[in-house]
Each structure stands twice: as structure tokens, then as C-alpha cells.
């Protein structure tokens, strides 16, 4: 175990990859908190799946595999998907959730067809583009990691700078509009940041599962606190832990994809939060409920000793 940890740290390339995935988890957790609170979790998944054709088109056009280029492709595809969703829900009677379901699967279908085509073409079989489905952090080169780290840092800095504005449009957009905030613009900025988080994460975590890095840490963080700054920090830490775990464990064996491991780590943190968080956690709730029932039983008994009769009846 210790040997493994040391080997992770001693290899400079692995060290960078670990650091990159940690930062990615941190940035995704922070931005994802707003996505989660605005109840747009499904949107993150739509953006992620929509990224696949974007990445494929970027590769087919340039025949180059580079993180920056794929990021641009994923971003454009994400924007196209969001435009489709809003066009469908505006001009038809179809509700946004159904519109997202339609767009998500359509884009992913197109992406899969393109991916198959690339795999069967000459230069494509070596492209390693199939890794974009479930992510392979170890396949990243130093340049990719720099892009990943730069983008993640940008997300964190912007989320901190615009914290107050993002909070207000998430809590009460009507009031925000009333005091003159450009709510539409801010919503678009937040959406683009979400798209960037997703697009940055696809190489490491893969399009199928990257949305989990956005939503699961935020959902877990919500259990621990009633304060938004603390929630952002906790979501960032949970995301960072998941990203680190995914990258570290996937380097163990050649075939282990990073995405599933990352998601398992995030879900484990979520399960622990759900069960054990003080206040909102299930265990704390059950204890509180028991305490209340016991107290009620005591008052009904009218002055009966707190132990004994009341408790005896309960068991």
C-alpha cells in the first residue's frame, strides 16, 4: 500500500495527473453546487453526453488529439445541445426534462456513430478516443493536464468572484432581476462554466459519468451544512477526493477506467453523508425522532419517571 503511494508520487507524470484530477474534482464540486441547488442536475448529464460528438468532430477535422481542441469541441456541442433543449421546450408543449432526455440521447447516439467510424478508419484506431467514454486519466499527457488544471482553477476563481451573484440568482431570481442584476446573462455564464467543467472532465472521467462529479459531491455536501460557503467548500473537497481516488486507483492496472472509480468514490462519500451527517443525515433523524417519541410518551404518562415505564413500552 505504502509502496504504491510512494510510486504514485515518485513518477512525475502520475503526480501531475493526480494533481490535475484533484483540481478537476474541486472545480466541478464548486460549480456543481450551483447546478444542484438550481435543480438543473439533469442538465449536467445532457451537457456531458452532448460533448461526445463535439470531441469526435474536433478529431475528424484536425486528426490531432489535444485536450484544448477537444475542450472547444465539447463546449460548442454543449452549447448546441442547450439551445436544442430550450428551443424544444419553448416552441412545443414538451417539458424541459423530456426535452433533455431527447437531446441527450440523440447527441450521444450521433457521437457513438462517429466514434465507431473513427475507430475503423486508419489513423483513428490509434487515437484512443474510445477512452473518452469512461475516461482514462493515465492516458493524459502533460499538455492535457495543464489544460485541465488551468480550466479547473478558472472555474474556482470565477465561482468565488461571482459567489454573491450566483447565490442570489439560484435562491431568488425574481428578486435578483428586481435589483437590476442581469439574471439572464449570469445564468448563461453559470451554464457555460458548467459546460466547461464537464468538457474539462471528459478525458479523465469520460462523457458517460462526468456529470456525477458535478452533482454527487454537491448532494453529499448539502447533508453537512446549512451554509452555502461551507457547502461549496465541502463539495469541492468531496469532488477532489473522488478525483484523486479515481486517478490513483486507475493507475493500478492498465485496464481500469478512471470514470467508474471516481464515481464509486463520490457515491461512497454521498452514502456516508446520507447516513451519518449530523442534523440532516438519516441516523441523526432517526435518533431525533426516537427522542421526540420518548419525550412525548413521558408527557402523556404525566410525570412518570423518564426511565422505566415509557421506555419499556417502546421496546
Amino acid at each position: 500500500m505504502l509502496e504504491w503511494l510512494i510510486s504514485l508520487w515518485s513518477d512525475p507524470n502520475t503526480r501531475w495527473i493526480l494533481l490535475g484530477c484533484t483540481l478537476l474534482g474541486l472545480g466541478s464540486g464548486v460549480i456543481g453546487s450551483f447546478t444542484f441547488l438550481r435543480r438543473e442536475s439533469l442538465l449536467g448529464d445532457t451537457l456531458a453526453h452532448a460533448a461526445l460528438p463535439g470531441v469526435c468532430i474536433a478529431f475528424m477535422l484536425t486528426e490531432v488529439k489535444s485536450a484544448g481542441l477537444f475542450l472547444a469541441g465539447a463546449l460548442l456541442a454543449g452549447v448546441a445541445a442547450v439551445l436544442c433543449v430550450s428551443a424544444i421546450s419553448r416552441h412545443t408543449r414538451i417539458k424541459p426534462d423530456a426535452a433533455m432526455g431527447i437531446v441527450l440521447t440523440f447527441f450521444f447516439g450521433v457521437g457513438t456513430v462517429m466514434l465507431t467510424h473513427i475507430q475503423h478508419s486508419g489513423s483513428g484506431s490509434q487515437s484512443g478516443l474510445d477512452k473518452y467514454l469512461f475516461g482514462q486519466a493515465a492516458a493524459m499527457v502533460t499538455g492535457d493536464v495543464y489544460v485541465l488544471m488551468g480550466v479547473s482553477l478558472l472555474l474556482i476563481v470565477l465561482a468565488l468572484l461571482l459567489f454573491k451573484e450566483f447565490k442570489l440568482i439560484s435562491f431568488d431570481p425574481g428578486f435578483a432581476r428586481g435589483i437590476g442584476l442581469p439574471v439572464g446573462l449570469l445564468e448563461h455564464v453559470l451554464l457555460i462554466l458548467t459546460t466547461v467543467a464537464v468538457a474539462a472532465g471528459i478525458q479523465a472521467v469520460g462523457v458517460v459519468l462526468v456529470a456525477a462529479l458535478l452533482i454527487t459531491p454537491a448532494a453529499a455536501a448539502r447533508y453537512w451544512t446549512d451554509r452555502l460557503p461551507v457547502m461549496l467548500a465541502a463539495a469541492g473537497v468531496f469532488g477532489a477526493l473522488s478525483g484523486t481516488a479515481g486517478a490513483a486507483i486507475s493507475t493500478l492496472g492498465e485496464g481500469i477506467p478512471t470514470g467508474p472509480v471516481t464515481v464509486l468514490a463520490a457515491t461512497l462519500l454521498f452514502a456516508v453523508s446520507l447516513l451519518l451527517a449530523p442534523g440532516r443525515g438519516l441516523a441523526a433523524r432517526a435518533l431525533r425522532h426516537r427522542g421526540m417519541r420518548a419525550a412525548y410518551a413521558r408527557t402523556v404518562d404525566g410525570g412518570a419517571p423518564p426511565t422505566g415505564a415509557a421506555e419499556g413500552r417502546e421496546s
Binding site: 468572484l161 454573491k164 451573484e165 435562491f171 431568488d172 428578486f175 428586481g178 435589483i179 446549512d226 452555502l228
Partner: protein, 268 residues
């Protein structure tokens, strides 16, 4: 400064002093193709408490939101202190309907009240000690100082309403819009709101309140706007809040019953 610009400044100041806090002309709002608010015009007198009343679906909240630019109107103009809403925004405070937000949001009462200062703070800047003190003072005014650090989902409906009122007070506005502040609140909150309205009137503020309880209109308000898609009547309560005009507003939905020698209005 030249004499010319001095004069000009003087004139615009005079014009502003004369302008009504709110003047609405020919506002029409439509959802799909159906008009919900049709050709409504009125002006509010300064320093009065004004109730906006009308039957369900009369477009009261819609009119309020259209005035605030929260929903688009297909025609009409809104002037606030003689200027556009955009320019006069800092003089306007707004209390939305309580149901319009998610009260499970991770924040506490004090933080919500401080949101009332965001418009004055500008971009990126964080609220500091000054904002905190002001927010505490306004929480005190609505009797909620003890709940400043309470998570907002842990507050009762009435307490949540008072937090929203405190946030509007923190805006330090001259003209207030309140969307059904009395809806579903407890007696303590109702009392707190009335006291607050009285204080705002003493300070010369103008308040427009969407209201649904006809039995309290005469007691709480100075002026009244009767709305049923179109504006039926507007004016001082004594002249406007009459059985005739109410019948015109509510149609067959209104009954007048005698009670202990006094007439009471009942919405069927």
C-alpha cells in the same frame, strides 16, 4: 458650473419632486394570446399605503410583475418618480410571494436580509459589517432578531414572510411593492406587518400591496386599486371601496351580508 446647467439641474429636481412615485399608463400583459391585464393606467400618491385588490385570476400579481419588468408587457409605460424603472431601481423595494423561492436553500435569515443590500453593493464586493448591522436592525424591526442565524427552512411561514419584509426594508427604498404579504401568516406576523406599514407611512414611503382580504382593506390602507383584468376604480378607500364598485370588480362572486347591524363583504 455654468448658470445654465445649474438651472437645468434645478428644473429636473423640481420635476422629480412633482412626479408621482409610480405612474402606469396603458399597460397590457398577455399570456399566449389571452390578455391577463388590459390597458391599465393609474398613478400612486406619495406617502400612501395602497391596496391592489380583485378576484382570483384578476391579474394582480401579473400587473405587479409587469411593473417591475419581471414579465414582459405587450404595451404600456411605467414611470417611477418621473423616470424609468431602470434609473430609479435603487428607490424601489420588492417583497415577492413567499412560495416563489425554495426555502430549503442553504442560507440563514440574516443572509437573506443582506441580499437587500446587493443592489447597492455592486459587483463582486462582499457585504461587510455595515451591511450586517443594517440587516440586524431591519430584522429587529420585524421582530426576528432572535432568528438571525436560523436556517430559513426552520422558520414558520409567517417568520419567512417577515424575513422577506426585512430584506425589502434593507433596500432602504422609497417605493415598496409587496405581493400578498398577508397570505397564510399567523396573527403575530400580521401584527408585525401592520406596524411596519404604519412606520413606512410615517416615513413618507409609498407602498403598493397585493391584498386579498376585503375585510381588512378599510383598516389597513389609504388608497385602493380595484382590478379585474381592467382597472375598475382607483382612489381613496372612503370613495372607492364602495359596494357598487366592489360588485363591478367581483361580479357575482361577492355577497354583502348584514352582521350585527354592520355590513360585511364576503367573497363567495
Amino acid at each position: 458650473m455654468s448658470e445654465e446647467t445649474n438651472k437645468l439641474k434645478h428644473r429636473t429636481a423640481a420635476k422629480e419632486a412633482a412626479a408621482a412615485p409610480l405612474a402606469v399608463s396603458n399597460i397590457t400583459v398577455a399570456y399566449q394570446r389571452k390578455a391577463v391585464v388590459e390597458d391599465v393606467s393609474f398613478a400612486l400618491p406619495e406617502g400612501k399605503l395602497v391596496a391592489l385588490i380583485g378576484p382570483n385570476g384578476a391579474g394582480k400579481s401579473t400587473l405587479l410583475k409587469a411593473i417591475l419588468g419581471l414579465i414582459p408587457s405587450i404595451s404600456g409605460q411605467v414611470a417611477i418618480y418621473g423616470d424609468t424603472y431602470k434609473k430609479m431601481r435603487s428607490r424601489v423595494g420588492y417583497v415577492p410571494q413567499r412560495e416563489s423561492v425554495d426555502w430549503d436553500f442553504p442560507t440563514d435569515a440574516l443572509d437573506v436580509v443582506m441580499m437587500g443590500r446587493y443592489g447597492h453593493l455592486g459587483w463582486i464586493k462582499r457585504p461587510g459589517r455595515r451591511e450586517k448591522e443594517l440587516a440586524m436592525a431591519t430584522l429587529e424591526k420585524v421582530g426576528m432578531a432572535d432568528f438571525a442565524r436560523r436556517q430559513i427552512s426552520q422558520l414558520s411561514g409567517g417568520q419567512q414572510q417577515r424575513v422577506f419584509l426585512a430584506r425589502a426594508l434593507a433596500q432602504e427604498a422609497d417605493l415598496y411593492f409587496m405581493d400578498e404579504p398577508f397570505a397564510g401568516v399567523d396573527a403575530a406576523t400580521e401584527k408585525a406587518i401592520i406596524a411596519l406599514l404604519g412606520e413606512l407611512r410615517r416615513e413618507g414611503k409609498t407602498v403598493l400591496v397585493v391584498h386579498h382580504d376585503l375585510s381588512t382593506v378599510e383598516e389597513y390602507f389609504d388608497h385602493v386599486l380595484l382590478l379585474n383584468k381592467r382597472l375598475v376604480a382607483a382612489g381613496p378607500v372612503a370613495e372607492t371601496f364602495t359596494p357598487d364598485k366592489l360588485h363591478e370588480t367581483y361580479g357575482g362572486k361577492l355577497a354583502i351580508v348584514g352582521q350585527d347591524g354592520r355590513e360585511a363583504l364576503v367573497v363567495k
